[in-house]
């Protein structure tokens, strides 16, 4: 079915000289021009544009030099991504935008210059067309803030909005302009300061179909409650960098009161010092939650803000999450008081990833008691304390004595469905041994138990395997592995 060659290959311009100089070499030069047959021109423009769209931005422009047919193609590529190390001057970008703007669906930019508000405003207004779907702007300048221009918040076609760093919402959102983002599904803010919480609430109410909200290192005034009321929200992520507190900020740092009303929520992630998080209404659709709670010890400012680690807060956070299937939980703090027990069951909990640190056995105990259908338990040692503070094993033991926390012993506490148990960071201390014994003894359906030995504990894998194999187990099909 081979197509007959419709046109003879023409010698490329650069080779004409050799042809004239030495005719006998002409055939070999034709063979050398591999790909000499022009098949690419049989493709329709849209496919050629598709090929060009996979190139980095500055190289898409180069394709205009290939031939007259290729000259305009780069302007039709729907993506404009200038986030890499190659920085054209903003004025160039603006000029290029004039050519390309109507076709741009995805715009991503890393703005690494000192803030020029006029330029940025022009940039935004040129890019905001009825075709724009994704807008991702990060302003890495070390100086001023840029006041967000209103056109982006009225872009009816926008689906994804990501803003980071030195962007100031406040003047805009406190004005009486109305905003509409009828198609917006994904909203991500990183390192943004809200001077008051009404601005964010107002923005959220302009997004009727919002599905994902991500607040990374976002600060707002203390003692103020941030209200996240979004009926369509499926994913909510609130995370804070560990050293955010050390950054200088113009705005008063950091409140941590959230009021969340998101009945469709399926995925919830939280990282940082835990303030008061209140869920209004039930979370019947929740599937997964990841909670990574930490606090900075010896930092008085935290106590000032009312953020000292309180177990009640953790309790109050976990209770409304009881419909979920997957929970990943870690918290590190020196406090260890009695935790209490949950009154409602976590019926659907199938997998639990728990990061332990010899002080939070209470929490583990409480969770195990109310999770009758748990199948997979992934148990991981937290490294915060003993590494960061260079405690000696003796010191650790001493500290552990002070806490009256003990590993779970209650046989009714363990799910009768547990099939997989994974222990990472086993160091052979008494509490851990007790716990492993307990699991082996009580789980009738256990299929695999894998123990990863802590590298610094100098125990041999064989030794551990031997010791653990001696423990009585109620499951006949259990496979024990030590790594």
């Amino acid at each position: 079915m081979a197509d007959s060659r419709r046109k003879k290959p023409k010698y490329p311009k650069t080779q004409r000289l050799t042809l004239m100089a030495d005719p006998s070499q002409s055939e070999s030069s034709e063979e050398k021009a591999v790909g000499g047959v022009d098949r690419i021109s049989d493709l329709p423009d849209c496919v050629l544009i598709h090929i060009v769209s996979f190139l980095p931005f500055n190289q898409t422009i180069l394709t205009s030099l290939l031939s007259t047919r290729w000259k305009p193609l780069w302007t039709y590529v729907p993506i404009l991504d200038i986030r890499n190390n190659y920085f054209p001057r903003v004025s160039r970008v603006l000029r290029l935008l004039q050519l390309k703007a109507p076709c741009i669906q995805t715009f991503r930019m890393l703005y690494n210059y000192s803030v020029n508000p006029y330029q940025l405003d022009r940039l935004v207004s040129t890019v905001t067309t009825p075709n724009l779907k994704v807008f991702d702007l990060r302003i890495h300048s070390t100086e001023n803030y840029w006041k967000l221009s209103p056109s982006i918040l009225s872009c009816k076609s926008l689906v994804v909005l990501k803003l980071a760093w030195k962007i100031d919402f406040h003047p805009l959102l406190s004005s009486s302009l109305s905003f509409q983002l009828p198609r917006l599904k994904i909203l991500r803010f990183k390192r943004i300061s809200f001077r008051n919480c009404n601005s964010l609430t107002r923005l959220l109410s302009a997004c009727p179909v919002l599905e994902q909200l991500s607040l990374k290192v976002v600060s707002f005034p203390k003692d103020v409650c941030l209200k996240i009321w979004v009926p369509t929200l499926k994913l909510l992520r609130i995370t804070n960098a560990r050293f955010w507190f050390r950054f200088e900020s113009e705005f008063p740092v950091v409140g941590y009161k959230y009021e969340i009303d998101a009945p469709s929520l399926e995925y919830f992630e939280f990282g940082g010092p835990l303030g008061d998080i209140i869920f209004l209404g039930k979370l019947d659709n929740l599937i997964e939650a990841r909670l990574h709670i930490w606090s900075i010890e010896n930092d008085e400012s935290l106590y000032d803000l009312g953020l000292e680690m309180k177990l009640e807060r953790i309790f109050n956070l976990l209770v409304p999450l009881n419909k979920l299937k997957f929970l990943s939980f870690s918290y590190s703090a020196r406090e260890c008081r009695g935790f209490g027990s949950f009154c409602s069951m976590f019926q659907n909990l199938v997998r639990l990833d728990f990061t332990f640190n010899n002080r939070n056995w209470d929490v583990l105990q409480a969770l195990l008691r109310v999770a009758p259908n748990l199948r997979v338990l992934f148990f991981k040692r937290s490294y915060d304390y003993h590494r960061c503070h260079h405690w000696s094993p003796a010191h650790v033991e001493e500290h552990n004595q002070l806490c009256s926390s003990e590993p779970p012993k209650d046989p009714n506490a363990l799910s009768s469905h547990l099939t997989t148990f994974y222990f990472r960071g086993y160091s052979g201390i008494e509490n851990e041994v007790e716990f492993v014994k307990f699991i082996l003894k009580e789980s009738r359906l256990l299929k695999t138990m894998t123990v990863e030995v802590e590298v610094e504990s100098y125990m041999s894998e064989e030794g551990v395997l031997e010791k653990l194999s001696t423990f009585p187990r109620s499951s006949s099909t259990c496979l024990l592995t030590v790594k």
């Binding site: 079915m1 023409k10 490329p12 022009d38 329709p44 190139l55 500055n58 030099l65």
Partner: protein, 148 residues
């Protein structure tokens, strides 16, 4: 059915009341050569197989697919890619089209204009001076381009 053009053919056939029991229908594909077609069929089968194996885990699917694609690229000559794109385009096979377009893009990335022209078999049909003007205007884009 990933080959949307073929699917359409079948749909049209059914509309013309041809018996659905005919198992060996000849479908004319005048614009597709046999070699690229064979590769596309293998690609399609592999893709469906990997997808079925990893029904739940999207990441696994992607990883396996990537590995397979890397292997495939090693066997295929760069010049064949154009043929493959033509075939995938005619058959309306989106995933293969995306993959081969990406492969071509990485083959021409960071290469000089002359190399790319040679690769595609293109000829510069610019008027005198037009190309120089364009080169000047976009001089800043040439940073990072390999020498031929």
């Amino acid at each position: 059915m990933k080959f949307c053009a073929v699917k359409q053919y079948f749909d049209d056939e059914n509309n013309n009341n041809i018996t659905s029991g005919a198992s060996t229908t000849m479908i004319p594909l005048p614009n597709v050569e046999s070699h690229p077609l064979a590769i596309l069929i293998t690609y399609c089968k592999k893709h469906l197989k990997i997808k079925a194996n990893n029904a739940d885990n999207k990441k696994e699917t992607e990883k396996e697919m990537e590995q397979y694609e890397q292997e495939l690229l090693k066997k295929v000559m760069p010049q064949e890619l154009t043929e493959l794109i033509l075939a995938a385009n005619y058959l309306n096979f989106k995933e293969a089209l995306d993959f081969f377009c990406r492969a071509v893009a990485s083959a021409i990335q960071n290469k000089s204009i002359e190399f790319v022209r040679k690769f595609f078999g293109l000829e510069s049909d610019f008027e005198l001076g037009e190309e120089e003007k364009l080169r000047e205007e976009f001089a800043w884009s040439f940073e990072g381009v390999d020498e031929d």
